[in-house]
């Protein structure tokens, strides 16, 4: 039985080698070459029309050595907070805990929980409170953070936070249906995160 193992393993790995990992892809193409060639065969006199692919900025190739800075794009639905800003590190509030992202971080998709996002550039630290969202860290040291609401910490009113926390803790104890309990729990989580953002 084990005599077959090397042959089966070799077959499995050769199938996997047909696809490359996203960590070492070359730059993405800017035009669909097979479409352009097929067009030229049929209509050689007119230029092929542009496809959406040629209007997009191509994905840059993964650099062979780790870049010195992390490029961060931090967007909200109504505004772009940081656009291609080069920083040293960002700490994102992932559901699995505070995650520090340095240049050369492994490609990751992280769901964010309500918490503080801090952007470290030299000696400056800018902190935002993020309500929830996602962070996509690509292999070429570009991080895209998308959130629904993100506010600098000094715009949060401590009195409203305390009141909200008290309200929702009370709602949690009196909630009856699953949905009410879930909403009250969300309220408690968000307000406690806001509280620790103000005091921490």
């Amino acid at each position: 039985m084990f005599r077959q193992a090397p042959r089966l393993l070799a077959r499995a790995t050769s199938i996997m080698r047909a696809r490359s990992f996203s960590t070492d892809l070359p730059a993405a193409p800017t035009s669909d070459s097979s479409f352009v060639e097929a067009w030229k065969k049929v209509i050689p006199n007119i230029d092929a029309p542009k496809t959406p692919l040629s209007f997009m900025q191509p994905r840059p190739p993964t650099p062979p050595s780790i870049p010195g800075k992390l490029t961060v794009n931090f967007v909200l639905p109504y505004q772009s907070e940081l656009a291609a800003k080069e920083v040293d590190m960002v700490i994102i509030p992932a559901t699995t805990g505070q995650m520090g992202v340095l240049p050369g971080h492994v490609a990751t998709i992280a769901e964010l929980k309500p918490g503080i996002l801090s952007v470290h550039e030299g000696n400056d630290v800018t902190k935002y409170f993020v309500s929830s969202g996602f962070a996509f860290i690509h292999a070429n040291s570009i991080a895209d953070v998308v959130a629904v609401e993100a506010v600098p910490i000094d715009r949060i009113d401590p009195a409203l936070v305390q009141k909200g926390l008290a309200d929702f803790t009370q709602k949690l104890s009196t909630a009856s249906t699953d949905l009410e309990k879930a909403e009250a729990q969300i309220g408690v989580d968000v307000h406690s995160a806001l509280n620790s953002a103000l005091t921490g």
Partner: protein
């Protein structure tokens, strides 16, 4: 082939209660908006305004639409 484990992933409490991620995310965002200091709070609440009209169709004709709107009807 490899479907031995059915749905063994731990679901977050809101999904277990029947809520979708978008609902969860919007609730979190509106709670944060309600805890802002004054000039920012009024700006943020304008961002929450929703306006949509939904019509169900029956026999190829739209029925009366239900309109959900935070802006006063003109």
């Amino acid at each position: 082939m490899a479907s031995a484990a059915g749905s063994s992933a731990a679901v977050p409490f809101w999904r277990a209660a029947g809520m979708t991620y978008i609902t969860y995310s919007n609730i979190c965002a509106s709670l944060v908006r309600n805890c802002l200091k004054e000039p920012y709070k009024t700006e943020a609440l304008t961002r929450e305004k929703v306006h949509f009209a939904v019509s169900k169709w029956a026999d190829g004709k739209p029925q009366k639409p239900t309109i959900r709107s935070d802006t006063p009807e003109e």
